[in-house]
Amino acid sequence: MIQLSRITKAFGRHEVLKGIDLTVGKGEVVAILGPSGSGKTTLLRCINFLEKPSGGTVAIGDFKADGKHPSKKEIHALRLKSAMVFQHYNLFRHKTALENVMEGLVVVRKIPKEQARAKSISVLEKVGLGSKIDAYPSQLSGGQQQRVGIARALALEPEVILFDEPTSALDPELVGEVLEVIRRIAKEGITMIVVTHEMGFARDVANRVVFMDEGLVIEEGDPKEIFARPKEERTKQFLKRITPEASYSI
């Protein structure tokens, strides 16, 4: 279970997060939506302290870290319990697909190499890249790179996987293959927090959507409910803009 309470974050004078509370249960898939600049990505990055919150607490499982004054040990512990899939993949450029996935298992989890290798291969097969294990990131398409990124996170068996706009950098025709993989692992009951602009994906896969704007959670709840009958005015406006088919009459 992940519990964020009263998370704030300011970059200089600019307040990006203005006190966010969010609880994610085990096995839950939560989609965070909202216009750009609303603080979704910053919130996600506060969970594994790639961004240090200005205040609040982050808890994963029974482990809790103070946002403002975390110790190195606390940050490390949170990172061991989570994994992240990045918008720009961030695969280790000098390592093959297999080495990318093995790296965390061998270096961080200290799993013997042979065992880590076998496990990494099976996870890469799961994301449909069994034939590409020896390819370097530069030899893979965006969609394939992102699937390696997902495999790298998945192999660590973290308590939660954080997805930071996993399809935003992809060519439109490659979005499908990545969403398909995420959809599949969502069904396996892995806890996921997904920042996304893919409304269809959020509606179909998420158990809950959280709508953010200007550093605050505006509305949250069942995706079918929110997409069909948003309560807040800002949610309505946003959904209208992002699903234009409703606003056009031809």
Binding site: L50, R79, M84, F86, N90, R93, H94, G104, V107, V108
Partner: protein, 236 residues
Amino acid sequence: MKLDPAFIWTAFVQLLSVIPTTLLITAVSVLGGFLIGTGIALLRLYRVPVLSQIAAGYVTFIRGTPMITHLLLIYFGLPAIVDAVSESLGSSFRSVSIPYLAFALIAFTITASAYMSEVVRSGLLAVNRGQLEAAYSIGMTTPQALRRIVFPQALAASLPNLSNSLIGMLHGSTLAFTVSVVEIMAKAQIVASTNWKFFEAYLAAALIFWGLTVLIEQLASRIERRINVYNRGGVA
């Protein structure tokens, strides 16, 4: 003046004997400079308070003064310090027993460290921040992330600059001559003056330096090809 082609060969053979001295000076100063330079680059990149300012001052002073000045300052300054220290410790060690070569090694390591720190820094800056974040996200500590993810990529990115510095230090090592270390140029002068055939001797020295440089270039391009298999060429 008449050229004596045969003497070029005679000189060439005699010069071969001191190649190890030149290579030792080059290797020690480049390796030592690389290690110290890496430390300096990290201090500056992480903006470590006080130390990073000292490091920046060190780099600008060393790069702002000629290599031969470093050598002479060390040669004339270090003995006084060594003697004072060893005297206060009651040791019988005196600076006269320091071999000339040691002064050259220390001075050139200092020279190289300032230039290397910039080479390493540019390599580190070439690594995308996302690489470090990805390393953190899978639970690596900073030393693990630097060693396994950042340094290998930074090294690959700075290889062309590194081979440049290596060649520069190889040629710079000839200054050791001024503190009586017999390296290639000193030997060339000795060979020349005993026979009064300066041009031939220096020509032989030039050929040796060129040969060594070509070797370094070959070696560098081979390493570059091996280390950069993952790169699909920069802008090309």
